[in-house]
């Protein structure tokens, strides 16, 4: 399969790989996907409590090149956005930016889900729980 140059660039030079302290009250963590589907994304945002703006974003992804690129791009876009602006990011924008082919659209959907899960986790910590889907958790 031919990848777009942007996908290759994100795969070779992923932005913002890493982890933020998940117990920090200003950090929201989203973990979406499933290993048996071949994609798991962990996306974290750190929100500045003063301004409500996302100061930092990190990701780790198990998945194909398009999944890695989608989450890497998402972290780039998240930085500097408010929480509400972050929730407005649509998977179709990721598809357009990375020129993802139809069989890879699920990667962009997963990235959008990861953003929503991370923001939801942050809001829950801040006592503003809403109906956004929760992240995966160990059952033990």
């Amino acid at each position: 399969m031919a990848y777009s140059n942007k996908v290759i660039d994100h795969y070779e030079n992923p932005r913002n790989v890493g982890s933020l302290p998940k117990d920090d009250p200003n950090v929201g963590t989203g973990l979406v996907g499933a290993p048996e589907c071949g994609d798991v994304m962990k996306l974290q945002v750190k929100v500045n409590p003063e301004t409500g703006v996302i100061d930092d974003a990190k990701f780790k992804t198990f998945g194909c090149g398009s999944a890695i690129a989608s989450s890497s791009l998402a972290t780039e876009w998240l930085k500097g956005k408010t929480v509400d602006q972050a929730l407005a990011i649509k998977n179709t924008e990721i598809v357009a930016e990375l020129s993802l082919p139809p069989v890879k659209i699920h990667c962009s959907v997963l990235a959008e889900d990861a953003i929503k899960a991370a923001i939801s986790d942050y809001k829950k910590k801040q006592g503003q729980a809403d109906s956004v889907q929760p992240a995966a958790q160990p059952t033990a």
């Binding site: 996907g33 290993p35 589907c37 071949g38 992804t61 198990f62 090149g65 699920h106 889907q133 160990p138």
Partner: protein, 406 residues
Amino acid sequence: MAIKLPIYMDYHATTPVDPRVVETMVPYFTEQFGNAASRNHPFGWAAEDAVEQARKHVSDLIGAGAKEIVFTSGATESNNLAIKGVAEMYREKGRHIITAVTEHKAVIDTCKRLEKEDCRVTYLPVQKDGRISLDDLRNAISDRTILISIMTANNEIGVLQPIAEIGAIAKEKGILFHTDAVQAVGKVPFNVNDLKVDLVSLTAHKMYGPKGVGALYVRRRNPRVLLAPQIDGGGHERGMRSGTLNVPGIVGMGKAAALCKAEMTQDAARLGALRDRLNERLHKGLDEIYVNGSMEHRLPHSLNVSFAYVEGESLLMGINDVAVSSGSACTSASLEPSYVLKALGAGDDLAHSSIRFGLGRWTTQEEVDYVADKLITVVTRLREMSPLYELAKEGVDLSTMQWQVH
């Protein structure tokens, strides 16, 4: 010497044609272009002689008689002819066929079609090592069973099935035994009488011959196997496969078979050593990697490894100067990981993380070392960005996680 990139390590998919094979084929496109069925002039005689010599080479490779070889367009056609031909010819005797879940699609889908008619098909499971259980086979046999079709070596994992044991059971029960042997013949010793097989599918392009030509071995004695032809026409190949013979292709397959017979022992020893070197180097450089399928019952040039916590397609992307295959869903249109690896009981996550290495006649030690080192680098990098690796290192048991399955 600098390594030439990209490196080809996908010899299970296809092999390059040996230059000695090409050289043998060339005259049959131009000077010796006759139709092997033209019985009344020298052009036809020359073509027929060439075909008969090739038939001898192919039959010699598997310990068969020349008259037991039917040339086809390749192993998919051979599998179709064997299974459908038996199902139709032995219709009165029974309607039950036994095969295995890890067979090639050319066998599975042929059986599925017969199921839509009035056949019953048993798909035997495989054990963790990729081999069927002989007890399962015995239990599946009924007095309505007419055919057992079990491949000699699997195309994805290289695992060899207990063909001699299956052959003995089939013989004892009076059931015909077909094996798709495309990955094994020419690579490891194979003798139709020692193994007690009745039908064998072969293809030239997996043994350094050209694409578009294959063969079906059809036993003529003890028992004499009858097949209902699936292609009607001029009655070529003793009526079992009509169609003008692909003379250059058949000549190429014959030469390829002769070369394999002469060189198999030394090739297998060399490639087995290189394969083991690749495996050892990978295990030295990486933790949590798993060989899929039996190491003991395996083609010498074959290795299939799962690299836990990294996904196959992203791995292939990182080693894009190496041609290999992955069991990852993303490399197929279906979004389903390899059904063969799933059948071994490997979790879907490990099926997604697998790479198949196929070494061949022109694989060098330098290439093996390059591929191993490159994989170690890329797997390490991808694990650094893998949330699964991070969770595992934190001590989380991934199998207890509840995932949102999309």
